[in-house]
Symmetry: C2
Subunit: 221 residues, 2 copies
């Protein structure tokens, strides 16, 4: 599935089914795996009809569903993927495809509603301990803009002050040196930042039970 922050809310791309089962219901894009095709390649192929795949800033595998009853036509095994599109892009979508806010999903086909739910949980957790933010944000941004993206994805308020501090200390963000022009109401011009790395990295690896700092070097005991 593809997710993007649009207009301050996190959205997921859904496709309206024309045929039974679940005709008229919204579903995640997907389709059968071809012989000699990787799952990742298959995802790219399935999405090609919806968005330009180059617009995906991140793609990761979620879980594999195998309930024999998940498709009334018969047994299917489906592996879900999560793709992210940075907020400054606005891919042209086909007629039957649209963005839906994740906090107000319509009736969905199959088990797709629950798949979106677990994708959400995964994305939110990773915003805390990795740099996934890079995949939702434009190339450069002010802290205020980044905050809006985090708020949309996390679903709760985050202050720009603390977001800036956490991400700068970890080295996730770096200043570009440029500033943004203030709005019509004035105000100090915002500095523009960018993510230091364009690929997923774990930035807060150990919650607790960290390996003792002075015993990493000398090897084993």
């Amino acid at each position: 599935m593809v997710m993007q922050v649009r207009a301050g809310r996190l959205h997921v791309m859904l496709w309206r089914r024309a045929n039974e089962p679940f005709a008229g219901a919204w579903a995640l894009p997907g389709g059968p795996l071809l012989p000699d095709e990787t799952l990742g390649a298959s995802v790219a192929r399935q999405l090609a009809s919806k968005v330009e795949v180059q617009q995906l800033s991140h793609l990761e595998q979620l879980e594999t569903r195998s309930d024999p009853d998940r498709d009334p036509r018969g047994r299917t095994v489906a592996t879900a993927y999560l793709g992210l599109v940075p907020s400054h892009l606005d891919p042209a979508l086909p007629e039957d495809t649209a963005w839906h806010p994740t906090d107000g999903l319509p009736e969905t086909a199959f088990d797709h509603g629950s798949i979106v739910g677990s994708a959400l949980g995964r994305l939110r957790a990773k915003l805390s301990y990795t740099n996934v933010g890079f995949a939702l944000a434009p190339p450069t941004f002010s802290i205020a803009e980044l905050r809006d993206i985090y708020v949309a994805a996390l679903g709760y308020e985050v202050t720009a002050t603390n977001l800036q501090r956490v991400l700068l200390r970890r080295g996730v963000l770096e200043a570009t040196g440029e500033t943004a022009a203030p709005g019509r109401a004035g105000g100090r011009p915002a500095m523009r930042y960018r993510f230091a790395s364009p690929a997923l990295e774990v930035t807060d690896p150990f919650a607790v039970l960290k390996p003792p700092s002075d015993r990493i070097l000398p090897g084993r005991r």
Copy 2:
């Protein structure tokens, strides 16, 4: 795959292949998914010939591998699972099956070595922010015994003092009220503890960017 702490080291159960490809190499137990069978049920069925499935204290899905070349006989898609056996059990294994320490694996068939590697990473991470320890430990134990289990699984030294504090504070452990007899060398009798929950729970949900207790936005779960 099945993992267990044995004799102070984390082990994984492997099976010696009799036939080509990879004849003689060690492999993870597994096999084809039957029609109308859930992946979880399939895992249980595959393992039934190796261990008594009731001995598994935890089972969770890992990733799905789809590289067309992962099996020289032709395309296969495989979903890996991680099962854990508490350290006080010693399942009887078939002739061709044995435990191998994860820090000294033999040559393995297919991509199984790399699958074990990612399972290890996942298990270690979860020891930090969940109560998975319950699945590796016996029903009750002293802190010293639990420490040995954590050390084996994590691969680095952990002090009993701090382990106790972290797990007690989080409510992951609770005292049974019983004490263990000291060894022949004497020493204060250890209190015995148990895990408060026999199922996986996330005990340290947010690394950072926690929702401010009073500012959770309405309607955005």
